[in-house]
């Protein structure tokens, strides 16, 4: 039933995005990339997929400029899609950008706190998280001004409201601010896809709920694992867990009480997927804790974060099996981001002569 009028407004977008998805690098492409000896070779191999965007690169570009250019393509495509989107899809895509906005805002807060030149800050912002009032931030010179006159005007204002005051911005660690915002954002996004009349009960809601729940769980687990050994208290940590997801509420509660990796493992035991990851990453049995400590040299096994990325990609890939869904836009952006990460990783391995680990990229096609 939901498919009846979907194409009236969104059929074009869906077609475009599916086209983009087919343009993603495949396992075969990646194989070719890993055979490259120099960045120039790599550039050549990327030619068909990225063509114009890499043309302006100087010979043997640095990996960061390569990443920049590949991101440019994603942004150009995203903007095109966004420009053609209407109604609920447009709103959906705006939601998609809020995540990047949070990063940008965190960056701006950090910069303002340290009285940096805000123009320089703007250059560093993620283009997807660009919002109209962002240049106005240049006016703000202190944190109170930033909060009262600028942040309030951003789409992120509701995420600040109620959980963060301008004093908090000054005192709390920026990471806590960022994760608080992100939690509110995820909750809001989840709420949006499940209550919006255009999406509730459609495949969009179904797929997006799965994606967002996974994202929420991943963040909760990561925050818990990464907070060990820091001065983040358990009660503060608990405030950063999104209030939905497959772990919520029992798992979240157990996470909030976890004191070590073992505790986290127990907390996620209820969800078989996560339990498998923990076992695969070799965590929880020994006190070795967060990954191997050999610092970049060892590590044949995948880390927990790798497995999470893998899972995210699989969910994103399967999103394309559903029709009449906005979720494919989200999935496409995520797949594309992973692709950029993969390219950067491979380029980094080539540039730094660390070929033995070049296979650590994640490819799902």
């Amino acid at each position: 039933m939901e498919g009846l009028f979907f194409n009236v407004n969104n059929g074009y977008i869906e077609g475009i995005v599916r086209g983009y998805r087919n343009g993603l690098l495949t396992g075969q492409n990646y194989n070719n990339l890993t055979q490259c000896e120099t960045i120039d070779d790599l550039k050549l191999q990327l030619g068909p997929a990225y063509g114009d965007f890499l043309a302006s690169l100087p010979p043997n570009p640095s990996t960061s400029t390569l990443a920049e250019k590949t991101t440019d393509k994603l942004i150009a495509e995203f903007r095109y899609v966004r420009a053609n989107a209407v109604g609920a899809l447009a709103k959906f895509m705006d939601y998609l950008t809020y995540g990047y906005m949070i990063d940008n805002v965190a960056l701006l807060i950090t910069g303002t706190l340290h009285e940096r030149d805000t123009r320089e800050l703007l250059e560093r912002c993620h283009p997807l998280g660009w919002f109209e009032t962002m240049p106005v931030l240049c006016v703000a010179t202190n944190i109170e001004e930033l909060y009262n006159s600028v942040l309030i005007e951003t789409p992120l204002a509701p995420y600040f409201k109620g959980s963060l005051s301008h004093q908090d911005l000054d005192e709390l660690n920026i990471e806590i601010v960022r994760n608080t915002l992100y939690k509110n954002y995820l909750e809001d996004f989840n709420n949006f896809v499940n209550t919006d009349p255009d999406m509730a009960g459609t495949p969009t809601a179904e797929v997006m709920t799965e994606i967002l729940e996974f994202e929420a769980d991943r963040r909760a687990i990561n925050i818990t694992l990464n907070s060990f050994g820091t001065d983040l208290s358990k009660s503060d940590r608990k405030k950063l867990y999104p209030s939905f997801g497959r772990l919520y509420p029992e798992g979240s509660y157990m996470l909030s009480r976890a004191e070590d990796v073992e505790g986290v493992r127990l907390a996620v035991e209820g969800v078989s997927d996560y339990k498998t990851y923990f076992d695969a990453a070799g965590m929880g049995q020994s006190s070795a804790g967060a990954g191997n400590m050999s610092g970049g040299s060892g590590g044949d096994g995948k880390s927990l974060e790798d497995l999470f990325y893998q899972k995210e990609m699989e969910i994103s890939k399967s999103a394309f099996t559903r029709q009449f869904s906005f979720a494919i836009v989200y999935a496409w952006v995520k797949l594309r981001e992973q692709e950029i990460r993969n390219i950067t990783w491979i380029a980094e391995c080539i540039a730094q002569n660390q070929k033995e680990r070049i296979g650590n990229y994640i490819s799902v096609f």
Partner: protein
């Protein structure tokens, strides 16, 4: 005097001669010591430098190259772990890291070790507790990689600190050796000849003084003799006059024996004078 231009301005006295002699002795001992204290000796005393020490110059440079290359490798591994962070976080953390740096967790202690009179610096790294500017970096994602990267870099910095000690030791050594060589040369070519010259000068002056003194003494003696002789003659004249006067007055009253007696005495004395 030939060495007049190259000697120290001293009064040629016996005391300064003694001083100069002890100075020369000191300079010679110092020279011998300094000559022995060459690069290798300093090196062998210093454990860190020892690693690199060898008489073959190529060997030394090779080892330093090696140490520096090791740094290259360590730094590469560290840079790679940063690439892992970029991968895991999915973005650039550089700016945030720069802005959240507040207080150094990783510091060095600087001390100097006395190695046969040369102070060689040594850096010692230590971490201060309770300083954790980046504990929460990558909280949402990538935190594990960030922590791993921190450890890798901390190890890399330790290597760097070691290398810095080593390198500074060489810089100072370079300086020390230059100074030592300068000193050896100075002692050999300036101080020793100059002191020797001074000693020669003092000796010759003292000899000269000796000769003068001897001559003067002789003069004094001569004069004294002349004076004595003159006095003697005068005395004799006086005596003779007195005798004559006595004889003139006493001839009327005294007998011949008296005359003979005095005549004997005079005769004896005159004889002695002739002998003398």
């Amino acid at each position: 005097m030939s060495g007049a231009t190259n000697r120290e301005a001293v009064f040629p006295t016996r005391q300064s001669l003694g001083l100069m002699k002890s100075k020369l002795k000191g300079a010679q001992t110092g020279h011998d010591l300094l000559k022995r204290k060459n690069v290798s000796e300093v090196i062998y005393h210093y454990p860190v430098v020892q690693i690199l020490s060898s008489h073959a110059t190529t060997e030394i440079t090779r080892r330093i190259d090696e140490a520096k290359r090791k740094m290259g490798r360590v730094m590469q591994i560290a840079a790679f772990s940063l690439a892992e962070v970029t991968y895991a976080v999915g973005g650039d953390i550089g700016y945030q890291v720069q802005e959240s740096a507040k207080s150094a967790r990783f510091r060095v202690r600087t001390k100097q070790e006395n190695v046969s009179g040369v102070f060689l610096p040594a850096f010692e790294s230590y971490t201060t507790d309770g300083n954790n500017d980046f504990g929460l970096t990558g909280l949402g994602k990538g935190g594990q990689q960030v922590q791993r990267c921190r450890e890798t870099y901390a190890r890399a910095v330790e290597t760097l600190v070691e290398l810095a000690s080593l390198q500074t030791a060489f810089v100072i050594l370079d300086e020390v050796i230059k100074v030592v060589n300068r000193r050896v040369n100075a002692i050999e070519h300036v101080i020793i000849p100059r002191t020797e010259n001074t000693i020669k000068y003092i000796n010759s002056e003292l000899d000269e003084l000796d000769r003068e003194e001897f001559f003067r003494l002789k003069k004094v003696q001569n004069k004294k003799q002349r004076d004595t002789a003159a006095q003697d003659a005068e005395m004799r004249l006086k005596l003779a006059a007195a005798e004559k006067a006595e004889a003139a007055s006493g001839a009327t009253s005294s007998d011949k024996e008296n005359e003979a007696g005095t005549g004997d005495i005079l005769g004896e004395s005159e004889d002695a004078d002739v002998i003398f």
